[in-house]
Amino acid sequence: MGEKSKGFFVTGDPLIYGADVAIIVTLLGIIIFLTVFKKWGWLWKEWFTTVDHKRIGIMYLVSSLLMLFRGGVDALLMRLQLAAPNTHFLTSQHYNEIFTTHGTIMILFMAMPFMFALFNIVIPLQIGARDVAYPFLNALSFWLFFFGALLFNLSFVVGGSPDAGWLSYPPLSEIAGSPGPGQNFYIWGIQISGIGSLATGINFLVTILKMRAPGMKLMKMPLFSWSVLSSCITIIFAFPVLTVTLALLFVDRYLGAHIFTADSGNPMMYVNLIWMWGHPEVYIVVLPAFGIYSEIVSTFSKKKIFGYKSMVFSMMIISILGYFTWVHHFFTMGAGADVNTFFAITTMAIGIPTGVKIFNWLFTMFRGRITISQPMLWTIAFIPCFVVGGATGVMLAIAPADYQYHNSYFLIAHFHQTLIGGVVFGYLAGLYYWWPKMFGFKLNERLGKWAFWTWNIGFYVCFMPQYALGFMGMTRRVYTYGWDMGWAPFNMVSTVGAFLMGIGFIFQAWQILYSIKNGEKDVTGDPWNGRTLEWSIPSPAPLYNFAVIPEVKHDDDWWETKKAMADSQYKKEPPQYEPIHMPKQSGIPFIMSACWFVVGFGFTFGWSYVGLAGLLGVGLCLLARSFQQETDYYIPVDEVRKTEASLGRVG
């Protein structure tokens, strides 16, 4: 930790002073804006206390894009440091902190909330439901994520950032290796948001199992819903392991226990436990992306998805097999040939269902009438990228060969290829696809194409050289290197690529701002000629989503309905409105999560009384909720009719 652990505020680095100023200016800006325009009440009533899944989804989305920016800046700082040999742009300590926060933020505070944003925005609409199974818990999940992320990001300016890698292996992450609060920020930030993720997993599993519109049998469910189902099952089985692992690490650090210490505990047990969560975690984030691709490919090829059943089975197989591959992250531990063989085979086996899915997407496009829209562009780019990422994955799965690749830039290139090419491309495709449903307008096509090409070219320019660097012996987490290594040219190219991706992100920010003013309005609610239920309602969807819950008769039910409507014989029955049962909003999720923040902050600095006071607050919030009687209300028929009429739906 060096000079950083001395004071409460992090000092001594111009970059951090710059960030301090930026944070203060932004905060002041927000506060002044809200006060001048009298928006505090609006913020509290419309957003902080909402239990509406659509709004929660939007809040998740905004947070994840902010985190993508923060994680992206971390990445660019790293690439600047590595661009040329013997650079002293960052110190080794600062570099350690930045690769730690980059990884943690991208997986836990960017990918996860981006995924939850899409869960929230799409799932109830796609299965014909009015909300999720537990709307209150859903709000709580979001605020837990929010305050967890806030706590983690605070470490940048207060107390010092964690610096032991994104998975914080002991003994380095123990108190002897990492004194000071940095590691505690890591533990509590992830712990608090992790509880939220677990709750979301349960919430959406029950939503999908119990709240589908009548007639929507599981095997008639759209594939995105299936992918969320499989992802949620994986969350439910994987996240408790993370909770335990982080709690035990904290017990070691806080109470001086010896669970993962090198003297009386067992550090390798930590590595096993964290990867028992960590490996399923990558499937948690990639499965929904697979679901998104399936929806998009089918919509823009104007064909039913090829091999629906095999798609479902592959996803379920992936979510199960995903639990049995974790040791491939540390073949070099020396668990023995038999153990390594088992995990090598399971890892390769997981490539089979994934390959099946790739072929299904290709066959769906085959002889389809393809429209190259923005979502489709990202989907088409994903396929070759993911195939290469998967193939290098199989190379890494060969245990004896892995002794060569282990912790080299080959590995770095591989997992970025699957996580960016698979997950980020997928979520961006989903963002473009469902954006009109969220906000009622499309994102500008021309700027989007600029973003797409800079992102994509940038990606290959950035990561292809890293495969070579891995073969040349460059290991991950080195903060500088000499001219004699011969790594300079490839590193320079890689840095250029990273900045191209950064430019892509700027194009996207520009695209969003531009389209808010000039975006093409979606008046039909069905801008893409979609196939599933979310396109049958107005954009953005009214509070209650469906004025009348649809009866599902077919797969791709909305597509079939549209075909039937085109028939001249078709007679639309006047809708029979009924009072709609809705959950009331509540401030408790926000307050309870703020209390959790106090808990985390207190224990991070070892101020036990602050932590305990926070826990007391959490307890009081739980009791307050338990004693609440009226938690829901009905929207009267007149109001439903009025809303539908104002949205241009005949009432």
Partner: protein, 199 residues
């Protein structure tokens, strides 16, 4: 038509009840995994005593047997509470829940005094790997029980205020489920930690 509407809304509310129960079952799955990990950690670190006192020397048979009987009995009384709930007998329901809470308190009290004795003997959480694993596993269970006590007290207060209605029924069922679950976990702790420890 009116009839149809009321039937529909009724069904809808009915659905909401089963949602909570299903969700709670899934939550118990996750809690099971938490305990499974703690058991695994304990199994790995059982032998890491570094020459200090082992379980055989530390565990007192009388103490943990008493804890076991008390907790098992409390599970039984919480079952009796559920029976009273289904018969609609409010006073009986409250009384059995109070008995359950009192037994739970006795269990937590015994556990705390057991922990204190151990710490006085120089066996604390920071002594060695074995004791770290022991205290985290048994302590996590103890924290669960303590949380359950507060929860059950809150439910008792709600029954007193509102009597037995659909919401209260659901709450009693769920807290009872939680209580039985803790009992099952304790049986494993009793076997894996204490019995195998003193054998």
């Amino acid at each position: 038509m009116n009839q149809a509407i009321s039937k529909h809304t009724h069904e809808h509310e009915h659905h909401h009840d089963t949602f909570k129960l299903l969700g709670f079952w899934i939550f118990l799955v996750t809690d099971c995994i938490i305990f499974a990990c703690l058991f695994a950690v304990y199994a790995v670190l059982r032998g890491h005593t570094d020459g200090d006192l082992t379980g055989k020397e530390l565990f007192e048979i009388k103490g943990f047997t008493a804890e076991t009987f008390i907790l098992l009995t409390s599970s039984f009384t919480s079952g009796l509470a559920t029976l009273a709930l289904h018969k609609g007998k409010k006073a009986q329901l409250i009384n059995w829940l109070i008995v359950t809470v009192v037994l739970g308190l006795a269990f937590v009290g015994l556990e705390v005094s057991e922990f204190r004795t151990m710490v006085h003997e120089g066996a604390s959480i920071s002594t060695n790997g074995f004791l770290s694993a022991f205290f985290t596993l048994v302590g996590t269970h103890g924290l669960h029980v303590s949380f359950g006590l507060i929860w059950m007290t809150a439910v008792i207060l709600q029954i007193r205020r509102h009597g037995i209605n659909e919401k209260v029924k659901e709450k009693v069922t769920i807290v009872g489920l939680y209580w039985h679950f803790l009992d099952v976990v304790w049986i494993f702790i009793y076997t894996v930690v204490y019995l195998m420890g003193v054998m």
